[in-house]
Amino acid sequence: MKMLKSGLLFKSKLQNKYFYDRRCGTSMLCHPLLYLLLEKHNRGIDMAAWFEETVSGAAETVSLEGYGAVSRLELEYYFRKFTILRENGFFEETDTENLLSGRLKPDYVRIALANVQQVTLEVTDACNLDCAYCGYGKFYQDYDRRENKFMNPTMAKTLIDYIVKLADSPLNYSHQRDISIGFYGGEPLLNFPFIREMVDYVGQLNPRHNYFTFSMTTNSLLLEKYMDFLVEHKFNLLISLDGDEYSNSYRVCKNGSPSFPHIMRSAKALREKYPDYFREHVGFNAVFHNRNSVSALHRFFKEEFDITPGISELNTIGIKDSMKEEFRRTYANVNESLHQAEDYALIEKEMFIRLPNIRSLGSFIDQYTGFGYRDYNDLISTREGLKRIPTSTCLPFSKKIFLTVNGKILPCERIGQQHGLGWVDEHGVNLDFEKIADLYNSYYDKLKKQCTACAAAQMCLQCLFYLDIQADNPHCSGLMVEKDLSDFLSSHVSYLEEKPETYTRIIQEVSFE
């Protein structure tokens, strides 16, 4: 049995005192004297005995190390408060080993697929740009060879048929919900005939509980040519653009010329011709690196498109050893850039949940206050005795399924392609739910020792595919000792002390799926 202390004490930058209780799942402001008692309790001191000893025969005031003089009445008061909290389950120990003993069962995988929300198709591995930081480019080593292939429509249809069959079965517990078909590349528009064929194909399917929507990430070079079609089918479009001409200068055409003018021209043409569609269905994503800044991004997109872009940092996993130095120079951190911005407050107000610091604050509020609930069932269930599956990796297919141009099936497009869970070929879809469950369980086992000792275990944010999980003893970079967790809690509470109104705004505006 691995027991962790449930109560975690932390101070804000302003030296205010708080505690988080792991078992009760809640954090709160704490009077300094109560804090002192909790410190003692956490050190393993028998508080009842300590209290007896301290007040017995004492004068009206007692002097406490680390606090100063305190009246006997005061001490009694906080001891009583401590007792009330204890009686209500605070500051117990938590058995993390038992808590994290959940296992993935083959049926869960099947059910997840019957309820899948997104089917992402790697339409082609070809691209008409040559971005310096491309996930399939010089920095990375964890993808299948790029061969300018186009996805075979039969293969994609085979997978979709398979999914629709499951989604039509009683294993589907959603109703009137969309399944989003995501076209992903390379540059998907290079294989437009495929896209058209798939849109036509799913258009004639009639799933019982679902309807199809479409989404695509594009570099927009071919956008003008195909925009009528995309608008007609209400594609949710994400255009990759890193900002102004210099900011976007890692995104170059095959001949080395800048892509910026092309992207701007097509994006503007789209907006001109279809302003309503543009407002409702088009977003931008900027990759963050050493040639842009949050401030510049914010200004640029506001001026040019009156939009706040999504910002994503470079993926730090799977970097070739030989490229580590160059990667380090290219990489930049959004938070740092944000803090350097002169118009910090305005940017933060307008970009809000698109910024990583606010997203992190959002998950803090959701996970560490105890007042965030996924859905109605969560609100009426008892969490007591719940067994969790370790790590924060999504259960396979519970979010999406990704089909590569080579027919490999993965749980998403953001992870290395060595993590295939099955494949599609001329014989059909090959998914062995038993094997997938075994594979995941074996990964959990590898991490179990770290997870049960990890201060963040209950609220883990780590996807195991971002670790070197195929190694014998993978090391989790997210592992936290108590000190890390209290620093994490402290930084968020300190932020809220500075900007308390953000708390309410997040609760009102931000919902997680």
Partner: protein, 434 residues
């Protein structure tokens, strides 16, 4: 900050296990750890302070100086909060700036009303997971003639005689359960008429066994004695998921009840005797029978017959003491703000196939026409029952106790009012109202 020695400063804060409700000039504070309740009414100083505490810039912490603490109203309030462990004062000199409290504001990520307004949300996601219990009225034939028959089931789970010969066809039920494999359905209640006269009972049981659903059979004790044989044939004991509720109402034929007890003595599934009660006298009599017949598992169901309001006022109506003693958790309070945790996830299928979320509400559809998916979806997003909280009904929506009170039940319909309490109208004089 004023750190002037002549006016030392404090941070006054509320603990976040405290539920705070402010409506107009009334304030209620409830300590979810101890059950203590405090109310304030028409107290301008306190109202003003509470308003400040609740503002998003303050997050339940405000600065008070020694001078402000001398104001009698403020002082009394702070004193109360401290005494009841609902809030506290921290000397401002102990830190270098203002703390915050993580205010207990409910965040429900899949709030159905919010989802409807957000075009990018997948509205119907996981809805079938909400279905938890089904009550099936499989037939309506019964040869008895109990006085409470026509209205009992509108108040609690009870059999009902129609003698129309209508039945839920077993094929329909099979189709229904086949559709429900992916739901989180856990419990099925089987009621009639007299379910022992339902020809599909045996097959229904095997369907439920196959789907591993917990099931409770509702049978009136007077229907049990002659049904001894059919009972033995039922195969009720195939697994551990069965339970029987034996229904008893007054006047009771003690001899027959005794026979029922004897029949059930060697019966291997758990049996509960459910007593419908119309008066204190019946309650006393029930207690006598329970002890005389050594019945161990019982439940009591007050039955409103139009004349016994007083019995309800005594036994069912809530007051401050009972709410405080029930000590709902903050999570329960949160759930009572946005849903009906008591009725949520329940559907009732009547013998004519009509499906209701609340038996007193309009049907959502019919078993023969509508898919259960459509029914559940309808109830989650447009329904009358699962998400109806006291915040939506008169007069509770104007009452500071609305999240503390138990969720709406069927009794509110039977009695024709929502305030089954001895609290409304609120008539407190300012402070302690307990």
């Amino acid at each position: 900050m004023n750190n002037d020695n002549s006016n030392p400063q404090y941070w006054f804060y509320l603990d976040n296990y405290v539920h705070l409700e402010r409506l107009g000039n009334r304030v209620l504070l409830y300590n979810s750890l101890t059950g203590e309740i405090r109310e304030y009414m028409d107290n301008q100083e306190v109202l003003h302070l509470i308003e400040k505490l609740q503002s998003p810039e303050n997050l339940l912490v405000v600065q008070l100086g020694e001078k402000e603490l001398k104001d009698p109203e403020i002082s009394a309030f702070v004193h109360d909060m401290r005494n009841l462990f609902m809030g506290d004062l921290i000397e401002a000199s102990r830190s270098t700036g203002k703390p915050i409290q993580l205010a207990p504001v409910l965040k429900l990520h899949r709030d159905a009303d919010k989802m409807k307004t957000e075009s990018f949300r997948s509205v119907g996601v996981n809805v079938m997971k909400y279905l938890d219990r089904l009550a099936l009225y499989v037939n309506d034939s019964c040869t008895l003639d109990c006085g409470i028959c026509s209205s009992a089931r509108k108040q609690f789970l009870w059999c009902n005689r129609g003698n129309t010969g209508a039945e839920l066809h077993i094929d329909k039920l099979r189709q229904l359960f086949d559709q429900l494999v992916g739901s989180d359905l856990r419990y099925v209640h089987i009621l009639g008429g007299n379910i022992l006269a339902y020809p599909g009972l045996h097959e229904l049981i095997s369907i439920l066994v196959e789907h591993q659903l917990k099931r409770t059979f509702y049978i009136h004790y007077l229907n049990l004695a002659p049904g001894r044989e059919s009972l033995q044939n039922l195969g009720l004991t195939l697994d551990n998921y069965s339970q029987m509720n034996v229904l008893v109402n007054f006047p009771v034929d003690e001899g027959k009840l005794k026979i029922t007890c004897q029949i059930l003595e060697n019966f291997s599934i758990p049996v509960t005797f459910a007593f419908a009660l119309q008066s204190e006298a019946e309650f006393t009599e029930a207690e006598r029978l329970i002890s005389a017949l050594s019945i161990d598992s019982v439940s009591f169901h007050p039955f409103f017959n139009g004349q016994n309001l007083e019995f309800f006022e005594q036994g069912v109506f809530v007051d401050r003491q009972s709410l405080s003693a029930a000590r709902p958790s903050l999570k329960e309070i949160h759930s009572r703000q946005v849903m009906n945790p008591f009725l949520f996830g329940n559907l009732t299928v009547l013998t004519n196939g009509d499906i209701h979320a609340g038996i007193n509400d309009l049907p959502l559809g019919n078993l023969s026409k509508d898919s259960i998916y459509d029914i559940v979806y309808r109830e989650v997003f447009q329904g009358q029952t699962w998400r109806r909280s006291r915040k939506q009904v008169i007069p509770c929506r104007d009452c500071v106790f609305s999240a503390l009170c138990p969720p709406l039940s069927h009794y509110e319909y039977a009695l024709g009012k929502n305030n089954l309490c001895r609290i409304w109208p609120l008539n407190i004089d300012g402070k302690a109202a307990n």
